[in-house]
Structures are given as C-alpha cells and as structure tokens.
C-alpha cells in the first residue's frame, strides 16, 4: 500500500511515517507542496496524506493541480486550523477527507484504509487478526479453521472488516447489506452480530457493542 505523506513538520512527518509503516504501508515523504506535486505526477500513490500549511504551494493548491490533471488519487487533508472555511475549501477543492490535528492514530489509519480501498483494484481478500475473508473464492477462515457463514452473516462481517477500527451504526449495516429496501430490522442485525461473535471466538479481534448505536471491530482480542 503506497502512501504519499506530505508534511513539513519533521517530528510529525517522522512519527506519521513510522506509524503508517507499522501498519504495513509503504510511505514516501515529501516536505513541501512542489515536491509533492512532482511525486504525485511521477508515481501516483494509493492515497495522498497532505498537510494544508505547506511551504511553497499549500495543500489546497496541490489538490487543485492534481484534480486539474484529472487525477482521482484519494486525498486526505491534515489541518491544524479547524476554521469552517478551511474545511469547506478543502472538500470543495477536491480533497476526499480531512482530519484536524492532533488526531487519534486509529482514526487516521482507518480513514487512510477507507480511501485506499476506494482506489485499490477491487481486492477480494479482507483480513484482520486471524480472520481472512476471500469474497472471490467465497471462503472465510479463522487461522486454519474454516468459517461457516450464512449469506447475511457474511455480508455483516464483510462490512465490519471493511470498516475495521471505526464505529459503525446498525443503520449503516442495514443500509449496506440490504440496499434494495429489503426488510431487514436493526434487531436482525443484532442477531447476526451475536452469532458472528460466537463464530469469531479466538480470531484475534474484538467486536465491541456500542450500546444503542452499533459496533466496533478491531484487531486484538
């Protein structure tokens, strides 16, 4: 997973690079806007993480030039300013998402992964902890143990894996897995999740219930 990180603050750039590398990402670092512009043209990354306040040309301008070239590389803007104008301008300029510094590391990773999935050639394999879900072969396993899942259970787990590290609401799950107005209640989602919880025992993940809202699937027991 190739990530371009553009951040002029040396301490933050170094910390970000190491954190993302620890997540298995290949990180290339640029220190200013012009360098970022060059790198984006030469070797388009899967996701670009851009600080707004850059020397040379700022993050907005980098995104503007990127989009002007018709390049759809997903961009996550980092901003130290949370002024309304900045946010709106950021997304209007063509960035896909933004995070206000300082951010929670899991959230940053989750957002980068979400953007990467959008850009990546449709990978058929999702993995977290010991779970491997291969939607191409329609096979799932926990470690070496095959996982028997109903169609609905599969859909729920697939959605949770796609959003690993992020809190998802029951409504989001319903909307994602029953998109054609099929009759699927929030209670039914609860049932699927409780069945999944049993089946995922020993999978090296935690599936936490957020009372009254939804779920959070994370690596780590």
């Amino acid at each position: 997973m190739h990530i371009l990180l553009v951040e002029d603050d040396a301490v933050l750039a170094d910390g970000l690079a190491r954190t993302l590398q620890a997540q298995g990402m290949r990180v290339e670092v640029a220190r200013d806007g012009l360098q970022a512009d060059t790198l984006l043209q030469r070797a388009p990354p899967l996701v670009a993480v851009l600080d707004i306040g850059l020397p040379g040309i700022d993050g907005f301008e980098v995104v503007r030039r990127l989009r002007a070239r018709g390049d759809a590389t997903p961009v996550l803007l980092l901003t130290a300013r949370d002024a309304v104008e900045d946010r709106v301008r950021g997304l209007e300029t063509g960035a896909d998402d933004y995070l206000v510094k300082p951010f929670a590391t899991p959230e940053l990773v989750a957002r980068i992964r979400a953007l990467a999935r959008r850009n990546a050639p449709k990978s058929t394999i999702l993995a977290l902890g010991n779970i491997v879900l291969d939607s191409g072969a329609r096979r799932a396993r926990v470690g070496e143990r095959p996982l028997e899942l109903s169609v609905r259970e599969w859909a729920v787990l697939e959605y949770l894996l796609q959003h690993a590290g992020r809190v998802v609401s029951k409504q989001q799950i319903v909307d994602a897995i029953a998109p054609w107005g099929e009759d699927l209640t929030l209670n039914a989602v609860e049932v699927y999740v409780s069945r999944l919880r049993l089946k995922l025992d020993g999978a090296g993940v935690s599936l936490r219930t957020i009372r009254g809202f939804g779920y959070l699937l994370e690596a780590g027991a």
């Binding site: 954190t19 949370d82 206000v100 899991p106 809202f213």
Partner: protein, 442 residues
C-alpha cells in the same frame, strides 16, 4: 442634571414666560389707564357739580359730611375748605387738597377704606375756597380685578399652550436621539457592526460617524486578540500531534518494560491534556459572542453530530472501561455545526472524565414533547451536590481538585448553549446517584 431637553426647555420656556409677563403688564396698563382716567373724569365732574350746588343752595348741603346723590354702590364724603385749608363745612376726615397744585386728584384712606379724592375751586363769600369730594374705589377695584382676572386667565392659557408646544417640539426634535438609543439598546452585547447612518438627521450624522469609527476600532482590536489566541493554539497543534505519534511509537516498543511503559503512559496522558486544553481554548474562542453570527446558523441534526464524534468517545470510554451508550433520535435544530460539536464533545468528555471506571454514561437526543430538541448526557458517577450545581458552569471551576480537567469544558457548554438560546439544566437521575445534563434547544 445635564440634559439637552432641559436646556432647550430652559431657553424656550424661560423667555416665553418673561415675554408673556411683559405682554400681560402692558395689556394691563393699556386697559387700566383709560378706565382710571374715565373714573377720575367722573369724580372731577362730580366735584364741579357739587361746587355749583353749594353755591346755589348753601353750606347746609354739606352738613351731613356726605356728598349728596352720589354714585350708587359707593360711599362718598365731601368738605369745603378755605384757601388756608380751614374746614368751612362737611366731613372733617377729608384732608385739604389745594386746587392750586397738581391735578386736584389724590388717593387716601378714609374710615378704613381706600378712597379717591377730587377737588374743585369755588368762590365762597368773596373768598377762594376748595370743595373736595372723596369717593370709595369699589367700582374701580371691580373693574381692575375684572381686567386682572381676564389677563391671568388669558395669559395662563397662552403660556401653558406655548410651554406645551415647546415641550412637544423639543421631544419631537430629540426623537432621533431616542431612536438611536433604542437601536443601541437592542443590540447584542457583542454586536460591533456599524450603525446605519442613512436615516440619521444631519446633526446626528457626525456623532454616528464617530461612533462607528470607534466601533470599528474596538472590533479590530477584538479580532486581533481572537486571531492571536487562535494562532497560538493552532501553532501548538502540529508539534502536539508529532509528539503524540512519537510517544505512541515509543510506548509500543517499550510495552514489555513496565517502568518505561508507565513513564510513557504518563507522558501520553500529559500530551492528551495539552491537546485537550489547546482545543478548548479554540472552542472558547469560537464561542465568543462577538464571533457568533446568527446568520451562520443552519439546520443540523444533533443525532448526526453525536454520531460524527462517536469514534472519539468510544475510544475514551474503552480506556476507562465505561459502558457508553446512545439513545439517538432525530433532533433537528438551527445551529452552528462546529460549535454544537464542541458542546457535545465537552459534555460527553465531562461525563466520561468524572464517571469512575466501570461506570455507565448515556448520551440521548431527540425531539422535545413541547417542540424543539433536547440533548441529554447522563452518568452514574458521584453526581454534583445541588448547592454546587450553579458553579460548575463557571470557567476554571473544578469541584474535584484531583481531576485533570481544565475547568473550561462546562463553561464552553454553557456559552454555546446560550448562543443557541438553549436551556441548560443539571439534575440527577431518578433513583440513583449521578448527574444528568439536559439541554433544551428552542
């Protein structure tokens, strides 16, 4: 008192009254003098007629001391003196009045009543004599008081009308000032927008202009101060973010060494506090009333706002093993999305911070039965004693000195609730300990 109205009235009403008084005096003179002359003529004629009768009928006529057949309603006396002033006949009370000097008319008092005396020369037994007639002035006084009464009435009505007119005109002339004041009064405490001077009278325009210039300077000063604070806070964010990542990296590497892990955990905590306080400074600044623009209020749904912040809450709750739950129903309102998120953040953070590990926090929102929307954050922590509840919304008030709060969170909540015209109340859950913060949006 220094009042324009009083000063104007003083300079209008004072001269009006003086002028009216002068006019009244003149009118009095003009009315009274001819009447006086007519009365005097009558009295002189009576003296002449009496002289003729005395010559014809003798001194017996004056024996009673009274003037015969004189005017009705008046008392009169008569006397005849010789050239040396000796009384020849008539009333001894009458003073001698020489006809040789003056008009032959004078005022006197006789038997306790004011009288007017007239005299006429007379040839008596070859000697020069003077006949005097004294008549009470009752009719004159009646005429005079009639004149005075009419004048007082007329001038009184006149003066009142003029003073009333002056009062009205002054009030009318000062009305733009009153309107200006009303407009200033109606402003929000932090509204520094210039006054509209298009409708101002020419005399007030310079004042309004100077006032607007002053407002402009104040606003520029306030903005510079805000920007400075925001700049400082923003400048801190990047190094704080870097520090956080570096510490996390280090903590992950040294997880197996308890001493290092403990120290790193404390550093991370301190870093989180710095981050939080920096964010709170920015929230406070955002909630400054003079930065608040009602026009920026847009329809938002509290349920969506809470959902947007949920990730952060869940991580914070997990760290303390708090059961964090939600009861989110659609809660539409007109608000500033960023401020409301600050409000939700601070309220939930407060609950998570003061609820002991293993506790329970519930965030609820929805439509209120009476219209409007509500947000409720309920915990089963120690709660807040009723007598301290009014204090917790003040800045830098911390009820628990051991806690790591900044004492700003609930002040931010209060400021933002106020800006949205919302009601903020603090109570306790039914039948258990804890605190319930409830905000009712209109």
């Amino acid at each position: 008192m220094n009042s324009i109205r009083l000063r104007l009235l003083k300079w209008l009403v004072g001269p009006i009254l003086v002028f009216n008084l002068g006019a009244a005096a003149l009118t009095y003179l003009l009315a009274w003098t001819p009447a006086q002359l007519a009365f005097d003529d009558g009295l002189r004629a009576a003296a002449g007629a009496l002289a003729a009768r005395v010559r014809a009928e003798g001194l017996g006529l004056l024996d009673a001391g009274r003037a015969p057949d004189d005017s009705a309603g008046e008392a009169s006396w008569a006397a005849l003196h010789d050239a040396d002033g000796r009384l020849l006949a008539g009333s001894a009370a009458l003073p001698y009045l020489s006809t040789l000097r003056g008009s032959g008319l004078r005022d006197a008092e006789l038997h306790g009543e004011p009288v007017r005396i007239a005299s006429a020369a007379l040839e008596w037994q070859g000697e020069r004599a003077t006949i005097s007639i004294a008549r009470t002035v009752r009719a004159r006084q009646q005429v005079r008081s009639a004149i005075v009464r009419s004048l007082v009435l007329l001038e009184g009505v006149f003066s009142l009308a003029l003073v009333g007119l002056a009062w009205f005109s002054v009030g009318n002339g000062l009305a733009p000032l009153a309107r200006l004041r009303a407009r200033l009064d109606a402003r929000g405490s932090a509204d520094l927008a210039p006054l509209d001077d298009s409708q101002m009278p020419r005399e007030l325009a310079p004042v309004v202009g100077a006032f607007n210039a002053l407002l402009g300077r104040i606003e520029a000063g306030a903005r510079a101060q805000d920007e400075f604070r925001a700049n400082v806070a923003h400048q801190l964010r990047t190094p704080l973010a870097g520090l956080k990542l570096q510490l996390e990296w280090l903590a992950a590497r040294h997880a197996s060494d308890p001493d290092s892990a403990r120290s790193l955990a404390l550093m991370l905590q301190a870093n989180e506090r710095l981050i939080r306080q920096t964010n709170q400074l920015l929230s406070l600044e955002r909630a400054e009333p003079n930065r608040f623009a009602r026009s920026r209020l847009l329809p938002v749904d509290l349920a969506e706002l809470v959902a947007e912040s949920i990730q952060h809450f869940v991580e914070q709750a997990a760290a303390k093993d708090i059961d964090l739950g939600f009861e989110l129903e659609a809660a539409p309102l007109q608000g500033d999305r960023f401020m409301l998120r600050d409000l939700v953040d601070n309220l939930v953070d407060n609950a998570l911070r003061y609820t002991p590990a293993g506790g329970r926090v519930t965030v609820a929102c929805g439509a209120s039965p009476g219209g409007g929307s509500f947000l409720r954050v309920e915990d089963n922590g120690p709660g807040i004693p009723a007598n301290l509840r009014s204090q917790v919304f003040e800045r830098f008030v911390r009820l628990d000195q051991q806690s790591t709060g900044s004492g700003l969170g609930l002040a931010i909540v209060r400021d933002i609730a106020n800006l949205h015209g919302a009601d903020l109340s603090l109570g306790e859950p039914e039948g258990s300990s804890g605190a319930v913060f409830r905000i009712e949006f209109p």
